[in-house]
Symmetry: C4
Subunit: 239 residues, 4 copies
Amino acid sequence: MSEPHDVSAVIEDLVAANRILAGLGVLDGFGHVSARHPAHPDRYLLSRSLAPALVTAADLMTFDLESNAVGGDQRKPYLERFIHGAIYGRRPEVMAVVHSHSPSVIPFAASSVPLRPLYHMASFISSAARVFEIRERFGTTDMLVRNAAQGGALAESLGCDAIVLMRGHGFCAVAESLPVVVFRAVYTETNAALQQHAIGLGGSVTYLDEGESLLSEKTNRGVVERPWTLWKERFAPRA
Amino acid sequence: MSEPHDVSAVIEDLVAANRILAGLGVLDGFGHVSARHPAHPDRYLLSRSLAPALVTAADLMTFDLESNAVGGDQRKPYLERFIHGAIYGRRPEVMAVVHSHSPSVIPFAASSVPLRPLYHMASFISSAARVFEIRERFGTTDMLVRNAAQGGALAESLGCDAIVLMRGHGFCAVAESLPVVVFRAVYTETNAALQQHAIGLGGSVTYLDEGESLLSEKTNRGVVERPWTLWKERFAPRA
Amino acid sequence: MSEPHDVSAVIEDLVAANRILAGLGVLDGFGHVSARHPAHPDRYLLSRSLAPALVTAADLMTFDLESNAVGGDQRKPYLERFIHGAIYGRRPEVMAVVHSHSPSVIPFAASSVPLRPLYHMASFISSAARVFEIRERFGTTDMLVRNAAQGGALAESLGCDAIVLMRGHGFCAVAESLPVVVFRAVYTETNAALQQHAIGLGGSVTYLDEGESLLSEKTNRGVVERPWTLWKERFAPRA
Amino acid sequence: MSEPHDVSAVIEDLVAANRILAGLGVLDGFGHVSARHPAHPDRYLLSRSLAPALVTAADLMTFDLESNAVGGDQRKPYLERFIHGAIYGRRPEVMAVVHSHSPSVIPFAASSVPLRPLYHMASFISSAARVFEIRERFGTTDMLVRNAAQGGALAESLGCDAIVLMRGHGFCAVAESLPVVVFRAVYTETNAALQQHAIGLGGSVTYLDEGESLLSEKTNRGVVERPWTLWKERFAPRA
């Protein structure tokens, strides 16, 4: 009758992820992070409409993959929860999703210059990050991903990648766990700033090649606990 | 005989707005934020000459639309209070005004490159923000808006827009409420930094088009409470 | 027999100036701020060799205009105290001097592009800030102003201006009081960052012209108390 | 039988160095700082695999110059400890090593534009900092320095310099003491940001020449205690 133990661990980590991403400036008043329900793969956990810095366990809602609230929860959800539902529906291995308006990334989402992996910490970025252009299929919109169709188109743009940029809007990161998705969201922001500066120097720039990225990505999985421990210590609410 | 209840709510929000804008770096020792008096549309509330980070309810003064202090208040006012009076006089729907020297915006106020909306959070910026050039009508000045004539010229430059830049000086944002004007001041600063970086990448840049801005602006009105709640929590004095 | 009262006021302000400039990042472990002795115009007050963030009244030393410690004070002085002595010797109206390695200013000190006043807060900067090139008269040095001759050459480069940049090193600001010199040091740094960004936009840039600067400078003198009050509140040690 | 007194001083300084470099943003969740053992020059002290902001004396391990843990210590070490062992093996005068992913430096490590000393604080940088390109000798890797051969190649790239950049990765700084190596790591980061900005101004840039660097470097050795005292005060754990 009681929830399995790992749900409470995921809830604790999801609250921590909200606070960490707000603390590091990857999320401000907007943006959100979710986790797939560990016991029900066709559901996901996401805060009610609230700034991530303020999220507590009591603010989490449960949604099905059509992004409808489960259990008659009447609280106001995020308008863009469809991002999460659509990705969990198409990527069974994904367990956590971040949507962010991270400041260094948005310029790349509006530019013809692609975001590329400048250093090993960002080796999860493909050789040129994809950009979701909502105009292509939906014409003039308010830029938000507001329904299942738009969520599906975004998920298609994401493909098998770890991140997708959104023109005039922000980006999404996905991963097999909350610590990894937080790592990716943070280092997407960092890499964008680094690449901006490297381009600004005016010389030629060498990016990681695909072989380097592949090997580095595997290595990073083994050390993700190190920043996660640090960030929880600094930003997560005390138990 | 007593003031209507919503005056005290506006006062509380105006103090919060001062602290928030200072806390987020949109105002430093200079700049100011005002609110139209909720019971007397021909008056507005604005701090005495004081750094916004230090403003309390007791520092607020009341001005008429000629920017004269009401009720014999002899305290030293801001030199540039005429910005506020002139805008309230010409824009009856405006209930709150910010004047700021926000760092990312000033470069655009001095450049031939116009500030434009790079992402949905800044969809209140018109397709190319107007710049008030005080030299045009007033020749050599100390750059301040020091009287009703200069205030009127600034308000004309603003026109029906949400913001106007001021060459060699800063910018103003206006809105129908304090939460919205704070939102606009913050995201004008953010958008300016983002556009700076997008231009620095050297490729072509895609801005929001007018249809996207219009729809996005409407959406943003519905979610402005989210950052406002966060910012009050972080920066407003405890009751 | 007792020191006149205004010495203790200057000491308090000089400690505050150290803390403010450190708190705002204009000084780091290095750099210094001095005040002319209010009772003895041929002497000045300056901390012993110590990071400005740590300076207290007990750390202040008194120097003559040859930058020798007065009263047999054997504590280790700053190597570059000659900057202060030389300027006080040549500019009788100057009552306070800052020497800083402020990060946005140093690029201008190394570049052929001159620092210019982009907005009214920095109207004390002449139409193109002068740069002291120590190589010209002294050849290969360790870049420091280590003696009276080098101090004199720096003071000559400064001329009648409010600031002088130092190639490969930093800058100096001077003023008729501590509040004004702190204002100038802070807004030199800010203006440098703003001008950097304005140039980065790639369009044409309009600077304050000389008439605007002159009028604005006069106005700023009247409002310098506002940021000074704020900064003391935030950074000065509690009495 | 007891350890000589200076070991405990080095341990205290090494913990301080970890906290300082984390506090100043030169290290984040990754990167590390080590010290050669003062009594056993063929050994060095380095934390177990842990974010530098969290390191305490109890987390330090001792390694030999092949980077094997001494005394059967079974705790998880940093993957890249070989950087430290290889440098201590080849540079007998080096007593401390930092490895960092410092944000302003990485763009130079990926660019054809060399990092050069823009101001006297960074006079330890040679006229053009060397870049270690791991591809040259090791082909496709995960970018890490994972073994003695890679450590040796990195140490060769370093040569007799104070720093070496690592393409797609970060940089290393070395010095004869912990205070000096922390100084160098901090001012490598600062100089990189300054040079970035100087280049961005678009004019010609004057760097320190070799004679100036040589003299300045000597001077800096004499004042390194000043920022070290400040940084310990701000960031080191209280005794």
